[in-house]
Subunit: 87 residues, 2 copies
């Protein structure tokens, strides 16, 4: 399964979420990640995210597609910023 995941969490939890998501997916922009992941690993990721998140204030949105080829990615402007530049 191929997913795009994006979080919107309180400032205090950004670092932890970033670290967590980087363990499972590839960072593409700001708080957005993408990558191939198994059902089991995704469950694990969601479980761990919920432990970090404040459910009343934070959110994590996941778009899933069975095949990566069903998704076309296009980038306008800068291809990629180094992770360091926004940390």
């Amino acid at each position: 399964m191929y997913i795009i995941a994006m979080y919107d969490v309180g400032e205090k939890r950004v670092g932890k979420m970033l670290k967590l998501l980087r363990r499972y997916l590839n960072w593409i922009q700001n708080s957005v990640f993408e990558g191939e992941i198994s059902e089991v690993k995704l469950l694990e990721l969601k479980h761990k995210a919920m432990l970090i998140m404040d459910e009343k204030a934070d959110s994590l949105i996941i778009f899933k597609t069975r095949q990566e080829k069903w998704l076309d990615k296009e980038i306008v402007g800068l291809e990629r910023q180094e992770l360091d530049t926004f940390l």
Copy 2:
């Protein structure tokens, strides 16, 4: 065509990008939007985005899929924040 679009632009250009994208798509989180859009409208959107963006610093990533049903969306935590809360 169904798309997910996300921008990462300098602070000065955030307001303009937000306003532009909201004219074409639905806001879902931070700088992330989704929606059904035609090829022509997408070209128009990209053209207008490029006029706002600083190509050396900003980026706009677009994921496209021919059919919305190929994408599954899941939200962990807060379902939706009002636009006002992050403006």
